[in-house]
Structure formats: C-alpha cells, structure tokens
C-alpha cells in the first residue's frame, strides 16, 4: 500500500500528463501551428499534411491509451469508483 500523500502526488502527475496531452492535441490540430505543416510535398506518394494529421491523431490515441490505464487504477485517482461506493453497492448487486 502506497503512502496516501504519494498516491495523491501520483494521481496529480497522471492528471497533469492527461491535461498536457489534450493541450498538445489542440495545439497541433486546431491552432495556426497546424498550418505550418501544410506543405506542398508528398512522402511515398502521400501528401505530407495527410500523413501529419493521421500521425498526430494516432499519437493522441496511443498517449490516451497509456494514460487511461494509469487513470483507471484506483490508487491513482484517489476516489472511490461509483460501483464500489457504499451508497451504490446495491445497484451493482441487483441484476436489472
């Protein structure tokens, strides 16, 4: 069992990383910076911007996948997941 303070610290670090990933995504996809990669050139016959957009997209997906694993770890969120919340336990046990 990790120290409580350590847990909060880790959880904040993971959240910070997720925030930065979102910011990077916005910066690379929806800001004038994205325009920088509008190059009239092709790599392997494929226009560069097309490659650029899909590459950024793929990296965002991979980054989110890595972070989401850390974030669902109960210890890092520092919160009780709703289905283990004592108030909600009944819902989880009762078949619909």
């Amino acid at each position: 069992m990790k120290d409580r303070a350590e847990q909060f610290f880790t959880s904040r670090r993971v959240r910070d990383r997720a925030a930065i990933l979102t910011l990077i995504g916005m910066l690379l996809l929806v800001s004038p910076i994205a325009g920088v990669f509008q190059i009239d050139a092709k790599i392997g016959g494929i226009p560069v911007t097309l490659i650029y957009l899909f590459a950024v997209w793929a990296l965002l997906i991979i980054g989110t996948a890595l972070l989401s694993r850390q974030m669902t770890d109960e210890a890092t969120t520092g919160e009780i997941p709703p289905d283990r919340h004592p108030d909600r336990r009944r819902d989880a046990d009762t078949p619909p």
Partner: protein, 896 residues
C-alpha cells in the same frame, strides 16, 4: 450496373431481421442475468460510434472530394473531447449515475433546480434539431437504394424504412422506463451495426487502394491543393468545425444517451477515451483515398456523396456495392433508433408527463396508471418523431439543401453547451440565465443558419436574405451587424454562441437562485465529493407511506417498488413494514422515480402527493458551502443531544440518590428519637417518683438517682455518638493522620478492654506481627479497635470465649483482623451490620444503640482505610480493619 430491387429489399429485410434477433436474444440474456459480456467497454465504445451516421458513411467522402481535408474536423473534435475525458465526460457520467439522469434535457433541468421550463426548451430544441437529421438519414437511405437498385419510388421506400425503424425502436427501446435499466438489446444491435459499417468502409477503402495499385499511386498527378482543400485550410472554418463537432459529441441527444445514460461502469469511459478515437481514425483512414480515386475515375457529373457505392459498382463489384449499401444502412438505422429513443424519452418525460400531471385531478397520479401512460407516450413519441422526419424528407423533396442539415443540427444543439458547462463547473449559474442564454442562442441560430438554409423558401425570402428584413442592412441574416466576409456557418456560430454565453452569464449574475437550485448546483459541481442520497430536497412535511408506495408501484412497477420499499424499511429498522415517510425516504424515492420520468416530473409529482412545501431559504441558509455546513450542523445537533441525554441521566441519578438519602434521613430520625426516648422515659418516670413520693427510703432514693444518672450518661454518650457519626459522614470532622506504630495501638486497645475481658472470662490473644508504621489518628484507631474488641467480648456466647487480634500486611496496606469464636455473623446480616441502629442477632438483647460499627467504619474511611466483614473458608466471619502503611515503611519494605 445495378442490383435487383428485390434482392436489395430482401437483404435489407434479412439485415433488419438479424438485428431483431440479436436484440431479442440479448434482452432475454439480460433478463436472465447472463449479460456480463454485454457490459464490456468494447460494447460501450461501439455504441458511442452511433456518432458516425450515413452522413459520415457517404457524406465524408463527398466532403473530402469537394472541400478536401475539412471533413476530418468532424472527427477531430470528438477525439479531443475523449482525450480530455477526465475533465468533462467523466463528470457528466458521474452526475448521470448519481442523479439517475435520463436525457440531456433532464440533466440541464435537474441542475437548475429541476426546472420544468428548461426541460421543455431543451426538448423542443432537440426535436427541432433531430427531425431534419432523421430526414437526412432517410434521404441517404433512399438515395443509396436508388443508386444500387436503379430508380424506384423514393417516397415509398423512405416510408417503409421509417415504419420499420419505428417498429424496431418501439419494440426494443420502450421495454422499460427506468434509465438505469438500460436498453441492452438496442445497445447490442447498435454495436453490431458499428462493426458492420466500419468493416464496410474499410473494405471499400482497401478495394480502392488495391485497384489503384497502392496508396501512393492514388495521389499521383493530384495536386496537394485538391487533397488539402484550398487556401482556407486551418482557417476560422477549420477551428469552428472542430469546436462544433466537439460540442456535438457532448450535446447531441443520441450521443448523450449512449455516452452518459447507457453507461454501466464509469471505467468503461477510460477505455472509450482511446478506443472511440481509434474507431473514428479507422472510419476516416480511407476517406481521402476513396474521394481522390472517385474524382479520378468517375465521370464529372457523378455525385461525390455516393462514391462509396458507385466506385465498386462501376468496377463491376456488386458484392462490394452491396456491402457498402449495408454499411450505409447500418449507419442510418443506428442513428435513427438511438435518436428516436433519446428524443422520445425527453418528450414523454418533459412534455407529456407535466401536461398529464396538470390535467389529472389531484390524487389521480395514484389511482391512474402512470406507468402505462408513460410507456404509451414514449411509443407514440417515437412514431411521431420518425413521422416528422419522414414528413420533413418528403416536404424538402430530397433536395441537396438537406445535406447541409448535419452541421446545422450540430450548431443547434451547441446552444446547450453554455448551460451544460456552466451547470457542472459554475455554481453561480442560474435557471433564468440558462433559459435566457439558450433562447437567445437558438433564436440567432434559427435566424442566421436554419432559416437561410431553406434558401428563401421558408419564412425568410431570398430578398430578405440578401438585403435584410425591410432592407435593414445590419439585420441581414448572414451578415448580422455588418459582420461580413465570414463563412455562414462560422458567422452563425460566432453570433449565436457568443450571445448565448454572454446572456447566460449576465442573467445568471443578476438573477436570484431558488434554494433547490443552489442545492442542485452544489451537488452537480461537487459531484465527486458528495452523494445525492444524503441530501433532502424537501422541507419537513407530512406524506402518506401508502400513497407513496402506490405511486412507486405505478411508475417503477410492482416488484421493483416492493423491493425498494422493503429495503428502505429495513434500513429504517422496521423490516416487513411500510417505511416511515421520512425526509431521507422521500428523497430516495424521488431519485428512483426520477430514473424513470426525469428529475423535474419526479419532483413535481412527489411534491404534489406529499403536499410538501418546497425548500425554503431559512432551511438552507447558505448552500455555498452547504455540504460542510449540513454535516457540521448535524454533528453539532447530535453532540448537543448526547450532552442533553447525559445531563438528564446524571440528574435522574442524583434525584434517585437524593430520594434514598431522604428516606435514610427519615429512618435515622425516627430511630434516633426512639433511641432517645427510652432513657428519657426512665429518667422522667424516676425523677417524678423522687419529686412526688415522699415516702421513699434513702436507699431507694439513692438507687433511683443512680438510675437517672446512668441513663443521663447513656443519653449523653448516645448524643455524642450521633454527633460524631454525622460529623464523620458529612466530612466535618477531619482526622489528622500521622505515622503511628500499629502493634502499639493494638496493645493499648487490648489493655483498655482487658478489665471487661476479665470480667466476662474472655481470653484475648494478640499477634502484632512485624513492627508496622501506619498512617492514622492514634486515638481514633484505638477507638475502632476497642469497639470491635468490646463487641467480640460482649456478644460471645461460646463456652470458652476467645478473641484473637491478628495484624498482617499486603501491598502497602496493613490489616488487623478481630476474630472471635462466638460464631460470627451470617452473610445476610453482614449487609446490614454497618447500618445505623442495626443490631446484630447476637446483640439483640443488648442496650447498645447500634451506632458503634457505623461510626467505626466512618472513622476508618476518614483515615483512608476501611472496616469490612470477612468470611473465612469454614463460613465463620470476622471483622477486618485496613489502614495505609506509612511511606517510610513502604521504602523499608522495598529495600527489604
């Protein structure tokens, strides 16, 4: 080349039949509890992909052919929202679960004090935005049908498609009312459709890439400008479209339905956060190649929106064309089904229910069958919404204008965003602010975007579009306030959203909040730190448990209602009975009912039934830090209650003791007067004889005088003893303790009593033990010893009376046992022997007052010692004095 219409119809029917079977099987499995695999994050993610409608399936390629890469913004917005799921989506899902939210209208209205008017407004906007969108799906279905099967009656096709979808949706979408009992069958069918459409689009993409001889080959001789879409790339339209699609993934009623309402486990969202963007990535992967390949190979007049179908058809691959057709069919049907469920829930909960509540006479909600009414209204709503979509499709004549409706619908539901975001992040947001902001946003949206989209055929004429109403230039719908040179969509978004936000915030800051609004605001904004269950939404009042039970039965169904009430009753500690209609119980019931009919209706219904006054300001003084305050208050209250109870208990105990003491005092007084009366009587009678009888001899006179003298002495002694005892008991007489030698005190006492012992022929044995120094008053200790010894001597009826005085020590205390062979006292007697005026059986014939032992005990206790009756193993008893050893004695003991 085309496929036969009969074959196509057969395929469609078979596909729909397959969906029916899947939904039915899954619903049955869920009913039997075998639904674990259904609750996987994969199914959840696939159901979210209802975002990709036929507008995506066919339209994305068309958009890429016409406008280049711009189409991708529609998928980048949702990607960014899911990448940042931790801040918004997670909160929405948690709120949805915590408050049993049934739709986006329910969420917004619940947040703003369960406002019915907000719910109605959101519902109306949703209907207005959804109907054309459904028409768009019908249009793309009929068009694809026409393309694949050749010309046919478009209207009839659309009608039968709409009717079939209505039947499916009614069958599987209205099985139950409770949002928490999710639509497993529908979700599974949607998930299957998601797989089908992705597979179909990827297949066409791979076919195109293979036909062209490689991905790079497709772009040969194609200028990058065609791929990118010209100069406007990354301009304001790019940003606006991304924002718009990001908004749509949150605000579209069907997206809210699958993401928030149908969510079974919050952790599924973590998986969807990357899996859903990955799905979109897959859908978009071959859009550009298909578009470019279509541009290169298809005739110039071919509709790019249908490349997905026409490219394989032209290549003679009718099997692929059929697959593409099924993919498009999947995209359209899944959207229509989910949208119809979401909007019909809103209509029945927020429009039909409140009207029914108003029309039904008071009390009718108990006797009337609300549950059937709700299900019926939901079914009718589905039919009506699909009918409206069909009507819209027919009236617009399948015009191209419909193609633009996707973005227009996005912009319409985007008007929910300020109220939604403000609601979950800003406590200061008010219902009036949300209402005013949303209304102004929608009006501007309709004026600048929706009505102009009809191109002068509906409400706004072409002239008005070009010159403004009555020629007022600043009011031109697509250049409001002379804001020229913007793309119409960007123009509409800038105006509608900025006015919406501004009005929302300004009115919020200026308007008052109802207490319920404040409470809900606090609960929503702080959803991760609070649970809704502990918060009452009613002030105290009276409600009838039976009425509440009947109401719950009507809405939740008999069995769930019974289970709920049993559980509440058990929690209240009265299993097997109806629960007490406490505040907690009513709040809980309202929450459960809200899961079926929405927060606003549930609140209205229960408050009407319970006849409760709404929460007033005095009861929740400040909800700004309402949670902590409530906890603080209740803790203070319970502390106060505890304190009061303790005080009451102490008072009761003190009272009890006082009564006892009072009784003892009465007892004591009567005994004292009795004891005093005996000597007084003899003194009086003898003195009377001496005074009145002159014939007495001197001898008699002397004898009588002696009796009077003896009795007086006895009386004085008695009074001394009483004074002594009361002084000792009241603590008025303090005994100075000093170190004295115990053996010496014992010897002195035995010396004093030896004359009496001799007279009675009693032998006294003394066993002083080691030389012990004890803390005591010397005279007082001797007094106690003498009292005990004289008792032992006087009341010893043995043939050879003997008394032993034995001293010994244990752990800092010295003991002196006075043991006689006269038989001791019984155990019962031992209890009363220290009571005042009690005389042991052995002393019953004696003249003693019965104060000796109580006094002795009081003396010993005043010296921090004690006097007790001890029982030996053979049943005989003896008296034991205990007294503290002196400190230096202790040190010596330790040293020894």
């Amino acid at each position: 080349m085309t496929l036969s219409g009969d074959l196509l119809l057969g395929v469609c029917l078979a596909y729909v039949a397959a969906l029916f079977i899947i939904a039915a099987l899954v619903d049955r499995a869920a009913a039997e509890g075998r639904f674990r695999w259904l609750q996987s994050p994969l199914i959840y993610t696939l159901s979210i992909s209802v975002y990709c409608t036929s507008w995506t399936f066919y339209g994305a390629v068309g958009s890429a052919a016409r406008n280049g890469l711009e189409f991708i913004t529609i998928y980048l917005g949702p990607t960014l929202v899911f990448v940042g799921w931790f801040w918004l989506l997670r909160k929405l899902v948690r709120i949805g679960r915590e408050h049993r939210i049934t739709s986006i209208a329910d969420l917004i209205s619940s947040r703003y004090g369960k406002s019915a008017s907000l719910a109605v407004l959101v519902t109306l906007i949703a209907v207005v935005a959804t109907t054309p969108y459904i028409a768009l799906q019908l249009q793309s279905l009929t068009r694809s049908y026409q393309v694949v099967a050749g010309e046919s009656n478009a209207v009839a096709t659309a009608f039968w498609i709409a009717a079939g979808l209505a039947v499916f949706t009614i069958l599987f979408g209205t099985r139950n009312l409770d949002a928490n009992e999710r639509h497993h069958g529908v979700v599974a069918a949607i998930a299957v459709e998601a797989v089908v459409k992705l597979f179909a689009l990827l297949s066409i993409g791979l076919f195109v890439v293979i036909s062209a001889g490689g991905l790079g080959e497709i772009f040969v001789d194609v200028p990058t400008d065609v791929v990118y879409g010209g100069e406007e790339f990354y301009g304001t339209r790019w940003v606006t479209l991304t924002l718009l699609s990001a908004t749509a993934i949150i605000c579209l009623p069907r997206q809210f339905q699958v993401t928030v309402v149908e969510n079974v486990d919050e952790r599924h969202l973590a998986t969807a956060s990357w899996l859903f963007p990955a799905y979109l990535f897959g859908m978009c992967l071959f859009i550009v190649p298909i578009a470019i390949y279509g541009l290169k190979t298809m005739p110039a007049d071919a509709n790019p929106d249908l490349y997905v179908l026409t490219v394989p058809l032209t290549a003679g691959r009718s099997d692929l064309a059929l697959l593409a057709f099924i993919g498009g069919f999947s995209s359209a049907t899944s959207m229509v089904i989910v949208a119809a469920i979401a909007v019909s829930t809103m209509v029945s909960n927020h429009i039909v229910m409140p009207i029914a509540l108003r029309l039904l006479p008071s009390g009718q909600e108990v006797s009337g069958d609300v549950r059937n009414l709700l299900i019926l209204s939901r079914r009718v709503s589905i039919a009506v919404i699909l009918g409206l979509g069909f009507l819209y499709f027919q009236l617009s004549g399948g015009s191209d204008a419909l193609a633009a409706i996707g973005l227009i619908a996005f912009a319409g539901v985007a008007q929910f965003l300020p109220a939604l975001l403000g609601g979950v992040f800003w406590r200061g947001a008010t219902a009036r602010g949300a209402l005013a902001g949303m209304i102004s946003g929608v009006v501007i949206w309709a004026y600048t975007l929706l009505l102009p989209s009809f191109e002068g055929t509906f409400l706004i004429s072409s002239a008005m579009l070009a010159q403004g109403p009555r020629g007022i230039d600043v009011l031109r719908p697509q250049a409001l306030m002379g804001l020229n040179g913007l793309d119409p969509l960007v123009h509409a978004m800038v105006w509608s959203l900025s006015v919406n936000v501004l009005v929302f915030m300004t009115v919020s800051v200026l308007s008052e909040m109802s207490p319920l609004e404040r409470l809900q605001g606090a609960l929503f904004v702080d959803v991760f730190n609070t649970t809704s269950e502990s918060h009452a939404t009613f002030a105290a009042g009276s409600a009838n448990a039976e009425d509440l039970f009947i109401l719950a039965q009507r809405i939740l169904g008999t069995e769930p209602a019974r289970r709920l009430f049993d559980e509440i009753a058990a929690r209240q500690g009265r299993p097997g009975n109806l629960p007490l209609p406490s505040q907690d119980m009513i709040t809980r019931l309202e929450r459960e009912v809200a899961g079926s009919i929405g927060g606003a209706s549930a609140h209205a219904m229960i408050s009407r039934l319970a006849g409760k006054a709404p929460l007033s300001m005095n009861e929740l003084i400040d909800i700004a830090d309402e949670t902590s305050r409530l906890i603080e208050t209740s803790r203070a209250l319970s502390e106060k209650t505890d304190e009061l109870q303790q005080t009451a208990r102490q008072l009761r105990e003190a009272n009890e003791r006082l009564r006892m003491l009072d009784a003892q005092k009465d007892d004591f007084l009567s005994q004292v007067s009795h004891e005093l009366r005996t000597p007084m009587t003899s003194i009086r009678s003898f003195s009377e004889i001496l005074l009145e009888d002159g014939s007495l001899t001197d001898k008699d006179r002397a004898r009588f005088a002696k009796i009077i003298n003896d009795e007086s002495i006895r009386l004085t002694g008695l009074l001394d003893e009483i004074l002594d005892l009361s002084g000792l008991e009241a603590g008025g007489i303090s005994i100075t303790r000093e170190p004295i030698s115990l053996p010496r005190a014992m010897a002195a006492a035995v010396d004093t009593i030896s004359a009496l012992a001799q007279q009675r022929g009693v032998t006294i044995e003394i066993e002083p033990g080691a030389d012990m120094t004890v803390m005591a008053g010397g005279d007082r200790l001797r007094q106690v010893l003498i009292n005990l010894l004289s008792n032992a001597i006087k009341y010893n009826a043995a043939a050879e009376p003997r008394v032993r005085v034995v001293a010994h020590t244990t752990a800092g205390t010295a003991f002196v046992d006075v043991i006689d062979n006269g038989g001791g006292i019984g155990r019962d007697e031992a209890k009363t022997v220290f009571d005042k005026f009690s005389r042991g059986q052995r002393a019953a014939m004696d003249q003693g007052a019965g104060l000796g032992l109580p006094i002795s005990r009081a003396i010993m206790r005043a010296m921090r010692g004690d006097l007790t009756v001890q029982f030996a193993k053979d049943g005989s008893s003896f008296f034991r004095i205990s007294v503290e050893l002196a400190r230096d004695q202790l040190v010596e003991d330790a040293a020894g």
